[in-house]
């Protein structure tokens, strides 16, 4: 493969990153051609038409617009091609589909905290199985960070106040850099970690070894009661609030006539900004939990509600 000709270039580790490398190669070839042509002409003219050199300089005033029209269209068409290519790969990369294995990522000054659905949590590291798409649900506790894995040619900003989804997949076991790419204050350059890709069997071993006493969803359940959510959403409560069992993943009709799918984002928003999307035929009674719950707690709550998906209300 062409990649081996460039000694410092680390091979790409997944389908998508292979596509990005190909695109990079395409861009390099295209610009090498343009640069080559330009430098050749510059050299040629500089040598041939240097002052004092006797050479043919006739017809120099005669000029038509053909040239300009020519190179304007040529560069435009070339650009259009690159644009389409780049855009299609971009859509591939950022199109998240499967949530076979969700991992929650909380970024904060200056560390990455990752949590597996079973409650296994890590600091500045993320273990994943190879050849399987892993969906990251990322949130930031403070400022904007950016989750960057050079080996996957992949990054995504982690912006406080919203969840960001990113699907990653690694094809080869190994340790890879994880950087914070968005400047986030004093120890920005210390906010680095590693992605540890393992064979699926090793990975499940690792998961079982790390399994915590109480899985995240259970902790979420405890919080659900502690914070008083169950007071309204629980069975037999006097306040009329929508039941949450079986909610996750279903469409929810809203009071403004539209409807949304109850996904992570929706649940998070409902906890933080309950008035922005009121469920049809309910009063907007719920208080905001903005500032009262941390990102870690939010994740647990969301997971708890998610774990109710299978139950009947």
């Amino acid at each position: 493969m062409w990649r081996q000709w460039i000694p410092f270039w680390q091979p790409a580790l997944s389908l998508h990153s292979g596509d990005v490398d190909l695109l990079f190669a395409g861009l390099l070839v295209a610009s090498a051609l343009v640069l080559g042509l330009l430098f050749f002409l510059l050299m040629l003219f500089c040598v041939r038409y240097r002052a004092g050199n006797q050479t043919d300089r006739d017809d120099r005033v005669v000029k038509s617009w053909h040239w300009e029209v020519g190179w304007t269209t040529a560069s435009f068409i070339c650009f259009l091609g690159l644009f389409v290519w780049g855009a299609s790969v971009y859509f591939q990369i950022y199109k998240t589909q499967a949530d076979e294995h969700d991992v929650f990522v909380v970024a904060k000054q200056w560390m990455w905290k990752t949590q597996h659905p079973g409650g296994q949590s890590e600091i500045d590291a993320l273990h994943i199985p190879v050849k399987r798409p892993v969906r990251l649900v990322m949130a930031s506790q403070d400022v904007i960070h950016s989750f960057f894995i050079p080996a996957l040619r992949l990054k995504h900003d982690v912006v406080p106040g919203r969840y960001q989804d990113l699907e990653i997949e690694v094809d080869k076991p190994g340790h890879y850099h994880l950087f914070c790419a968005e400047y986030c204050g004093t120890d920005h350059s210390g906010m680095i970690g590693e992605i540890v890709a393992m064979e699926p069997a090793d990975f499940s071993n690792w998961l079982t070894q790390q399994a915590p006493l109480s899985p995240l969803a259970d902790e979420g359940g405890v919080l659900f009661r502690e914070l008083g959510c169950s007071g309204c959403h629980g069975y037999g409560s006097k306040v009329r609030a929508p039941p949450l069992e079986g909610l996750y993943g279903k469409p929810v009709p809203l009071s403004d006539g539209t409807s949304v799918i109850a996904d992570d984002k929706y649940i998070r928003d409902s906890i933080l900004l309950p008035r922005s999307q009121v469920v049809a035929s309910y009063e907007p009674l719920m208080p905001s939990f903005e500032g009262k719950v941390s990102e870690d707690q939010l994740l647990r709550l969301v997971l708890y509600i998610k774990s109710l998906a299978g139950r009947q209300s």
Binding site: L23, F24, Y49, R57, E68
Partner: protein, 535 residues
């Protein structure tokens, strides 16, 4: 040579600090910019020394962050944006259009004072303790988390913005109203077209920056929740506002440079600029489309995929007029009679470096590749190729070209050429390795880095050492020439612009008789056998 010129009319300090002569104001700006350039350069030097090793050995991370912030803020707002417009532009514009001065001479002096006030405010922020937000001031870091002099620094930039707006207005009105008889739009030198386009951006975009900076201050003082997500604000709103100014601002930084290159290329190849009208309109096209591409700084921020698509497309479009210019400069050389004086060496360096910067800009406009490259050293390399390889090189070229006009003296051609060549090599050695670093994934604004990136960082730091020496050289030989250089004639390069029709240095009111224009610009014809007179 006993006739009084603008330098010799009066020698008092008052005559300098209260002058309304655009030429003297240009000199005031020139001196201030040299000062700021060296402060920014000193920070760059410290950064590069620190980065020569992967560990933190020279400075702590807090100091490092303050260094690159100071480097960025000073270089962008107190060097790049004012450089060509306020020094060369101020000096040359009225001369080029055959006017006695700019349209509003006092406003011009006032913008220098405002500029200095902004500069001093920013310097105060830096020396009182510094700012650690990066020149981009991204929220919510700048509004909630940074405990540094954010507001003072932002105030400095805010104040300097008014200077930009006033200068822009002054140029627009001057170019509209004060052209000499016969100087129609299509007879304007291309330098003026590009300054005109620049001024339009200055006037339209700078207010957005001002608003953005006010919002930061409001948020920091009162926590009103513009950018703070916990109370309903949006951190990305800041990025939209900021880049709505700052993307056009990079054209403020490069368009005047392109304008200078037109003058140089045609003068030293003794030929009309190829495709005058295309080049002229390309400037305005860049200015206009430049307003529609700000979102390409946010491809990984989580903005909608469709928005990214549109911004990527517009970014490719804005590259077309830039490509036109590069091709037209090259075509200008064809069948010319090329003289390799120092300004021409700078111009040729500009074409090469700007093209590399522009092409790598396409890499970044290309969505999927940007995902990998953004916020890495690839971006650092790219914008230095445009801003330093482009703008600073053009500035040096223009400075050498008009130096005899400004001072009435010649510099040492030998040293000038040596410096030009050294800058070219030093520059490439400094910044080319950064493309590789970025492609390998080294993030920018990193103070310590994994050891495998060291080789390229050492090369880059070595290049920076050469570059630092090369940038100091003009200070010496130009400074020497200002006092001891050989006297220059009115038109040492045999150039065609109106500015060469008056003595060097020009008299206080520029022309003894009102010039009248009867020809298109750049009528260099047929003298490719004879050397031009280098007095």
């Amino acid at each position: 040579m006993s006739e009084k010129n603008y330098l010799t009319t009066d020698y008092t300090l008052k005559s300098w600090f209260l002058t309304t002569d655009h030429k003297r104001i240009a000199i005031l700006y020139f001196a201030s910019l040299i000062f700021f350039f060296f402060i920014g350069g000193a920070a760059a030097t410290a950064i590069r020394i620190e980065l020569a090793t992967p560990q933190a050995d020279l400075v702590s991370s807090d100091i490092y962050n303050r260094l690159f912030t100071m480097h960025g803020i000073i270089m962008v707002w107190f060097f790049l944006i004012p450089s060509i417009p306020n020094t060369l532009g101020n000096f040359i514009v009225p001369l080029m259009i055959g006017a006695r001065d700019l349209a509003f001479p006092r406003l011009n002096l006032m913008s220098w004072y405002i500029f200095m006030l902004g500069g001093c405010t920013t310097l105060f922020a830096i020396f009182a303790g510094g700012v650690d937000t990066g020149w981009t001031f991204y929220t919510p870091f700048s509004t909630l988390y940074s405990n540094s002099y954010v507001i003072v620094a932002a105030a400095g930039v805010f104040i300097a913005g008014f200077s930009s707006i006033l200068t822009g207005l002054n140029f627009i009105v001057t170019i509209h109203r004060l052209r000499a008889p016969g100087l129609t739009w299509y007879r304007l030198p291309l330098f003026l077209w590009s300054l005109y386009a620049t001024s339009v951006i200055l006037v339209l975009a700078t207010p957005v920056l001002a608003i953005t900076l006010i919002l930061i201050a409001t948020e920091r003082f009162f926590g009103v929740g513009i950018f703070d997500p916990r109370i309903g604000g949006d951190p990305l709103l800041f990025q939209h506002l900021f880049w709505f100014y700052s993307h056009p601002a990079v054209y403020i930084m490069i368009l005047p440079g392109m304008g200078v290159i037109n003058e140089l290329v045609s003068c030293y190849s003794r030929k009309q600029v190829f495709g005058y009208k295309f080049v002229a309109w390309a400037s305005l096209a860049i200015a206009a489309v430049g307003f529609l591409v700000w979102g390409h700084h946010m491809f990984v921020s989580g903005q909608s995929l469709v928005a990214s698509l549109v911004f990527s497309f517009m970014s490719f479009i804005v590259a077309v007029p830039s490509a036109i210019k590069v091709f037209n400069w090259t075509a200008t050389l064809h069948k010319g009679s090329i003289h390799f004086d120092a300004p021409m060496l700078y111009a040729l360096a500009f074409i090469g470096l700007f093209t590399i910067g522009g092409l790598t800009g396409l890499f970044l406009a290309c969505l999927a590749f940007d995902v990998h490259a953004t916020d890495t050293y690839f971006v650092v390399a790219h914008f230095h190729y445009i801003m330093v390889g482009g703008m600073v090189t053009a500035y040096f070229g223009g400075l050498h070209y008009w130096w005899p006009k400004m001072t009435g003296r010649h510099y040492s051609e030998y040293w000038a050429r040596t410096a030009a060549v050294l800058i070219f090599f030093g520059f490439n050695l400094t910044f080319f390795p950064q493309f590789i670093l970025g492609a390998e994934g080294m993030p920018r604004r990193y103070h310590v880095y994994p050891p495998e990136f060291q080789v390229w960082n050492v090369l880059s730091s070595g290049g920076a050492a050469i570059l630092a020496v090369a940038y100091l050289m003009p200070l010496l030989y130009l400074g020497y020439s200002a006092f001891f250089g050989a006297r220059a004639s009115a038109n040492p390069w045999n150039a065609t612009g109106l500015e060469w029709q008056t003595s060097s240095p020009p008299p206080e009111f520029n022309f003894t008789t009102q010039p009248v224009v009867t020809r298109a610009p750049y009528q260099y014809n047929g003298d490719f056998q004879a050397e031009p007179q280098n007095a």
